[in-house]
Point group: C2
Chain length 241, copies 2
Amino acid sequence: MYKETHLRSILKTISWRFWATLTTTVLVFVFIGEIGLAVSIGLVEVVIKMLIYFLHERAWGAIKFGRVEIKPMVIWITGLARSGKSEIGERLTELLKKKGLKAEHLDGHTIRNLFPETGFSRQEVNEHIKRVGLLAKKLEEQGVFVVASFLSPYKESREFVRKLVDGYYEVHISTPVEVCEARDDKGIYKKARQENLPNFPGVTVKYDLPENPDLEIDTTSLSTDDAADTILDNLNGRIKL
Amino acid sequence: MYKETHLRSILKTISWRFWATLTTTVLVFVFIGEIGLAVSIGLVEVVIKMLIYFLHERAWGAIKFGRVEIKPMVIWITGLARSGKSEIGERLTELLKKKGLKAEHLDGHTIRNLFPETGFSRQEVNEHIKRVGLLAKKLEEQGVFVVASFLSPYKESREFVRKLVDGYYEVHISTPVEVCEARDDKGIYKKARQENLPNFPGVTVKYDLPENPDLEIDTTSLSTDDAADTILDNLNGRIKL
């Protein structure tokens, strides 16, 4: 909930008084032709009207009418490990905030760090993603744009989130597995292959391709900033930001 | 994010003009003594100043200064089954909303209905409560008051939430188990005893008593509305709502 402070009302009062009294003084001068009288009326007006204006501001501050909240969306970014989801999500969140919108970035790595006991079986991943979906929904209901960057390889939990939230917008980072693997600076693909880790999407388990993503982006030769700009441009087509 | 609509600015412009022009006309009449001239100046002023005022409103609409958000809290309601947590939480959320605050009620039953696979072992309950904690934290960060009514019998997950969120306020509904059991219209205590259900707090597993709750309420002879009022009164002592 926003409240307007007294200081804001005071500054607005002064700013308005400057322009308004200038107008009154010029107006009286044009009608009467006497500069002295015009200035006298202007001076008295300054005092009386500042008080009335301030009270008027405080009264309107209590009126909700005409203060509208922008309907937010849940931008769900899915794709293989190292496809660039987190970085794009972070950048996109920044861009939304720069537009003055409320925005929150939910990221797979950050949330897993908070809940290290979360496993990687299909069931555990689905449970994890569904919980994130609820989080997104509650934030959305409160007027916050949500950018969620999660590998989210399984269609059943993505569909759960799609149904749960109101403004689901799916972005599939479709960068091929070979390209992602070539960027594998942390050695996670290498480890997955060497230790034959189960449940590693794109390597030892299937990544369910999104069937009808709202947007598909291949980051093979696209920078993080360009990818985030592309998403924002496409969102702009849907809703007026 | 709030935006002010054009219609709000227009109505505010008209409302202000009424009071301001009345003042100007009276002022000019007092100085000049000619009612005709005073009214003429008033009429011209109406037109010119409405335009200037509208532009002034739109310009200030773009200025963030002095629009402040109230710092919210996470009101965590813990207690045995049938102690009245959900009903009190619902009522309290209503009261907060009536004050014009953004508020969200998170309830154990509702969230478990969404994730029916959530179990009742100490580990599963802790995991569940921690996830709810993250949800509460994100809502709190966005300026939303959170009322969370969860049995939450285990101290480790309550402490996790306390540390995770910023404004944790713990309410212990301390109604004795005998009183809760006597209200057992759904027969859950009966079932727990008959089938010797494991993990039923207060019956087959210990409910960890909160060590330093911010507030303790016994609903043995207190109505839901009175309990919610008590919480609100105590919150009012902490923060100015």
